[in-house]
C-alpha cells in the first residue's frame, strides 16, 4: 500500500497490569511484511497477555497498536479480525465442535464476504452465490491442510492435532494479512507438526501472510522464524535471529533460573 517501509504490525510501549502485577511492561514489537516472527519466553512471562492486548481481547493500560499504519489500539477483537484481517488462534484449541469441518471454515469466511451484518440475513441469489464461493474456497483449504477425508465430520470428534489444523485453515479463509498463533504445536502428534509447519510456510510464501508465533518448541522457531523476541517477566529481554537468541546468556538464565 505504502511505498515507505511500514510494518504490518507496530506495537509501541504496550503495558498491562493486573492489580499489583505488571504482566506486560512497556513492550515494543514490529512485524515486517512477509515475516515470521517468533515470540518466546518462560511460562508466565506475559506472552499470552501481550497477545490478548494486541488483538483486542483485553485492553492495554497504555501503549499503541497499529496495523499497516492505522491505529487499532482500542478496536474490539471482532473488528480487528474483520477490518484488519489480522487473525489469532487460542492456546486451548477451539473449533465449533458440533459443526463439520467445512461448516467451520464457511463460518470463518462469512464476515469477510458479506459487506454488513444486515446483508448476512439475505437468502437471495447473491447471498447463495457468496456462500457457494466460500464453500469452494473452504474445500481448497481443506485439501491444502490434508483434512479432506474428514471434511464432513463434526470437528469435536477429531483429534487435537486435526482441530489445530481446522483452526489454522479457518484463519486462512479471509485471505489474512497477519496471523498470530498461540502455541500452534502444543500437544499435537509429532507427525502433524511437520504438516502444520509446511502449511505455515505455504501460507507465508504463496499467500503473503505474515506471522507472529508463540512457541515453546525451539526447533520449530529455528526452522520457521527469521527473527525472534524473548519476553521475561513482562519485559523484552532480547531480540535477534533464533540462533542469536538461543546463544544469549540472559535467555539461558531466564529459562533455567525461572
Amino acid at each position: 500500500m505504502t511505498s515507505g517501509k511500514v510494518s504490518v504490525l507496530d506495537i509501541k510501549g504496550l503495558t498491562k497490569t493486573y492489580g499489583a502485577v505488571t504482566a506486560v511492561d512497556n513492550v515494543d514489537l514490529h512485524i515486517d511484511h512477509g515475516e515470521i516472527l517468533g515470540l518466546i519466553g518462560p511460562n508466565g512471562s506475559g506472552k499470552s497477555t501481550f497477545f490478548d492486548c494486541s488483538t483486542g481481547l483485553a485492553t492495554p493500560d497504555s501503549g499503541s497498536v497499529s496495523l499497516e499504519g492505522s491505529d487499532i489500539t482500542n478496536w474490539s477483537l471482532n473488528r480487528i479480525a474483520r477490518e484488519g484481517r489480522m487473525l489469532r488462534s487460542f492456546q486451548k484449541t477451539v473449533v465449533f465442535k458440533k459443526l463439520d469441518v467445512e461448516e467451520n471454515l464457511v463460518i470463518a469466511g462469512q464476515m469477510f464476504t458479506f459487506p454488513s451484518v444486515l446483508s448476512t440475513f439475505s437468502v437471495g441469489k447473491r447471498s447463495r452465490m457468496r456462500i457457494e464461493g466460500l464453500r469452494k474456497h473452504a474445500r481448497e483449504l481443506i485439501e491444502l491442510t490434508g483434512l479432506g477425508p474428514v471434511a464432513h465430520m463434526a470437528a469435536g470428534n477429531l483429534s487435537g492435532g486435526q482441530q489445530k489444523l481446522i483452526q489454522f485453515a479457518s484463519m486462512l479463509m479471509p485471505d489474512p494479512r497477519l496471523i498470530m498463533l498461540d502455541e500452534p504445536m502444543a500437544g499435537i502428534n509429532p507427525k502433524l507438526v511437520e504438516r502444520v509447519i509446511d502449511t505455515i510456510r505455504y501460507a507465508n510464501r504463496e499467500m503473503g501472510v505474515s506471522f507472529l508465533i508463540i512457541e515453546h518448541n525451539i526447533d520449530v522457531v529455528t526452522s520457521l522464524c527469521s527473527r525472534a523476541i524473548v519476553l521475561d517477566q513482562g519485559r523484552k529481554l532480547c531480540e535477534g535471529t533464533p540462533a542469536e537468541v538461543i546463544a544469549n546468556k540472559q535467555v539461558r538464565e531466564a529459562y533455567l533460573g525461572g
Partner: protein, 337 residues
Amino acid sequence: MNNTPLSTTASDPKRRNLRAPIVIALAVVALGAPMVLGTYAVHAMVIALIFLLPAHGLNLLVGYTGMLSLAQAAFFGLGAYASALMSIHLGTSFPVNMLAAIALACVIAVPLGIPALRLRDTSFVMCTLGFVIIGQAISKNWISVTRGDMGLNNIDKPTVGLAGYSWTASNPVEAYYLALVLAAFATWVFWLVVRSPAGRNLVAIRENETLAESLGIPTWNYRLAAFVIAAGFGGAGGSLYVHYISVASPLMFQTLYTTTMLIIVLGGGAGSITGVIFGSFLFVALSEGLRIAPELRMIAYGLSLLILVFRFPQGFAPFLMRIWDWAGGVDKKEGSA
C-alpha cells in the same frame, strides 16, 4: 465414536423413500383436521398454532443463539395490548394491528435488549424475567389505558380484507385456517432466518462466542438482532392471540405463558424447527385438549417438564430426526453425536 460420520448418505435402494408421502399425509391432516375434530379440539389446535409464533422466537434465542430469555411473554403481551388498543381506539383491521404489534415489539426490544444483553447466564435470565413482571405491573396499573385487572374486552375477531372483499374468522374452524396460514408463513420466515448466513453466525455464537468474535463476527450485533427478531415473533403471536380470544388482560404476563413457550421449545427440541412445531402440538394442543381440571393439567405440565429435563434433554427433535432418516431410507450405522 471417533471418526464416525454424522450421518451416512448411503440409502437402501430396496426401500422406497417415504418422505414425500409423510409430508403429504401431514399436510392433509393439517388441512382436514377441523372437519373431523370437535369444536373444543379445534380450539386447542388454534392455541397451539398461535403459540408456535412466540415459540419460534424463543427457539431463535435458546436453540440457535444460546441465550435463555424469559422475555418472550413480555413481547407476546405487548403485541396483544397494542393490537387490542388499536382495534378499540382506531378501529384498524387485524393485518394492520398485527404489523403494528410486530413493529412495536421490535422497536421496544432495542432499548430493552441493549442493557440486558450485557448480562450473562443467571443475571440475563433474571433481567428478562423482570421485563415480564414490569409488563404485568404496567398492564395492571396503567388503568386509563389498559383498564387494569378488568382487561380489554370484545376485541374484534380477526378480519382479513382484500380488494373490497373481506373475511372474518368468527369461529374456531375459520380461526384455525387463519392461524394455520399465519403459522406456516411465520415458520417459513423463521426457516429463512436460520438458513441465512446470519443464522450460521448465530449458531457460531451459541457454540463458542469468543471463537466467533475472533473470526470477525460482531457477536453483540447478532445477539441484539436475534433478540429483536424474537420479539417480533412474540408480538405477532400476541396480536393473533388477542384477536382470537378477544380479551387482553394482565393474566397474559403470568408465568404460565412463559412456561408454555419454554416447554414447546425445550420439549420439541431447541434448535430444531420441526421439533418446535411438534412440541407446540404435543404440549399445547394435547394439554388444552385434555378436558381435566386446570390444576391437574398444570401438574401434568410440571411433571412433563421434569421428565423432559431428565429423560429427553434434547427434546423430541432427535426422535423426529430418526423417523425422518428412516423414512428417507437412510441407515445410520451409529447414533449421531
